[in-house]
């Protein structure tokens, strides 16, 4: 087990486990944490898992972990690892089962005071328009041909059907469509799971959240994003549903033989991988991109459904009920990117699992209005606390592979949360605080209680203190819809 004395302090927000800590490490681990968060992370296996990630062939120094890190399986949640495209590997387990799990933020011009009397109706309407819960099926039942189109087109599939705007796509990471997706590399089983689940929220920690924009920290960035204090906004947190889960399952299973074929030795079988430049690696990346595009389309369809709910509730009651897209980001993804390493550009596959891309100002892919500022970063908190809008920085490009945190990060196991917290009592408590709750199950609600998570404000203060993101606005939830 790693001990505090094994970890070198660089400054108040940055620590390091040197590559000499264990014989099989190929890189150091850089931690963006305060001392308090670091001590908390020693309670579970997240640091062991980060050390294991440094053994991936072709990994480039350092492997990074964020303040919201916690123990996952194979690779820690909140981890970032970059591997050389030339001779490195891609690891499905280091991206996760919910491929392109991510967050979309929509904002409105509706003042909270005008919305307040209608929030309960809004929660009901959102719950009706956005199907949620275990294995839920949505209104889109796709043929195999249509599903293949979703895999190739991503959110553009929705645009073709009038369910998205050009602005929605422009304000989505990668324009809502990753190049190089190949549905032929996706199994029949994955397609069977994916055909009926498009446009659904699912269960677990996925949710819709109506927020009030409580405080703006960066007026210039907030203005560009259309975020104004006191107005309503909507967060959507979900991913590629059973489609992505099955793709990851299939490739983690198939690559068990690839590691033997390529003579790769790993400390944990969940880290199985294949060279990026190999048939197995290329197949996985093509399938992963198909799942990523499915997730972009899924969040787009949920945004469309949410707009219908807003119209139903607010038309005739407020002057402008339109929800405009602020941004859509992924926090479980593998991306081929070029980063400066020792002053020279290097093409790497950046594995982000529970970490958000946070590119700094000047990045060409960003919409024109965000390019001088940096990439928006969306950080959902736990129910009843806060969510954050941040922006990427030049420091994140230099220190963290252009990445930052993705959420609050769990501290309490689901089992313990269910034992200690009663769902009904939690719902009543949230309602008393003016947060309207719709939940598929009370035990599911209890598992996601705020007490089960770290303090999201502390996480955000840490990344801001480290300089790997800048604060734009703090959002306070007023309605939560959970599967």
């Amino acid at each position: 087990m790693v001990r505090l004395q094994d970890i070198r302090k660089i400054n108040d927000y940055e620590w390091e486990i040197p590559a000499t800590y264990r014989e099989d490490m190929r890189a150091s681990v850089r931690l963006f944490v305060t001392r308090r968060l670091l001590e908390a992370s020693l309670e579970d296996l997240s640091l062991e898992q980060a050390i294991n990630a440094t053994t991936l062939p072709g990994v480039v120094d350092p492997v990074v972990v964020m303040p919201d890190m916690h123990q996952g399986y194979g690779f820690p949640i909140g981890g970032v690892a970059a591997t050389r495209v030339s001779d490195g590997v891609v690891s499905p387990g280091a991206i996760g089962y919910d491929i392109n799990c991510g967050v979309r933020l929509l904002a409105s011009q509706i003042p909270y005071e005008q919305a307040e009397p209608h929030l309960d109706d809004l929660a009901t309407a959102l719950n009706r328009y956005c199907p949620s819960g275990v294995g839920t099926e949505g209104e889109y039942r796709l043929s195999h041909e249509e599903l293949d189109q979703v895999c190739r087109l991503g959110a553009r599939w929705a645009l073709k059907r009038g369910l998205a705007s050009e602005e929605d796509l422009r304000r989505t990471e990668e324009g809502g469509c990753l190049e190089g997706a190949d549905p032929a590399k996706v199994s029949h089983k994955a397609k069977e799971r994916g055909r009926t689940q498009l446009g659904t929220l699912g269960a677990g920690n996925h949710f819709l959240e109506v927020d009030i924009i409580e405080q703006v920290f960066d007026p210039e960035a907030a203005q560009a994003m259309g975020l104004h204090e006191g107005n309503l906004a909507l967060l959507i947190h979900c991913g590629s549903r059973g489609f992505g889960h099955q793709i990851c399952t299939d490739y983690v299973q198939d690559l068990q033989s690839a590691v033997k074929k390529y003579g790769i030795r790993l400390p944990d079988r969940e880290l199985v991988c294949a060279p990026i430049d190999s048939p197995e690696g290329r197949d996985y990346l093509a399938a992963m991109r198909a799942a990523a595009n499915y997730a972009f389309c899924n969040r787009q369809l949920l945004a469309h459904a949410a707009r219908r709910a807003f119209e139903e509730v607010f038309a005739g009651k407020v002057r402008n009920w339109h929800l405009h897209q602020v941004y859509d980001i992924a926090h479980n993804m593998g991306k081929i990117e070029t980063h400066l390493v020792n002053g020279k550009p290097l093409k790497v596959c950046v594995h982000r699992k529970g970490a958000t891309r946070a590119f700094g100002p000047g990045f060409a892919e960003l919409p024109e209005e965000y390019r001088p500022l940096g990439q928006p970063v969306l950080v959902p908190g736990s129910m009843g606390t806060a969510s954050w809008v941040l922006i990427g920085t030049e420091t994140s490009m230099q220190r963290s592979w252009g990445s930052t945190c993705h959420g609050a990060g769990r501290v309490l196991s689901r089992h313990k949360a269910k034992k200690e917290i009663r769902g009904e009592r939690l719902r009543d408590e949230l309602e008393r605080r003016g947060i309207h709750v719709r939940a598929g199950s009370m035990s599911g609600l209890a598992e996601e209680a705020p007490q089960a998570y770290k303090d999201v404000d502390e996480v955000v203060e840490t990344v801001a203190g480290a300089g790997i993101a800048r604060k734009v606005a703090r959002l306070r939830p007023v309605a939560v819809i959970k599967g």
Partner: protein
Amino acid sequence: MNEIPSSGFEEIRHTADWALRVWASDLPTLFTQAAQGMYRLEGVEIASTPRVERQITIKGEDAESLLVAFLNELLYLQETEQLAFDTFQCAITNHSLEIKAQGGPIRHLNKAIKAVTFHNLSIRTTPQGLETTLTFDV
């Protein structure tokens, strides 16, 4: 003093996901216990009628691969056909698994598992038989 049963399962601590320790005297019983433990974590209840049967054939690198593939196959049937199983007849060799599974439609499910992982997975020999720890992504 209560005697520890020769086969069984128990949930163990994990921060974000679910983990299950499973033990049995032999490999087929270990597979059966793992399936029953997984369904217990999910809060699956099976309707008494109609009874259904599925033949599951799996190939894999080793016993651990077969175990993960078997449980993932059950999750696939759970999601696509809303079926769960309570009776298993297993025939296992080094690289293949034949299972006759009997069960029925799912009457109730609390929370679905996304996937069964290989995280630190190893089927160990103990004085009582076999033991392993499974981690599930939820």
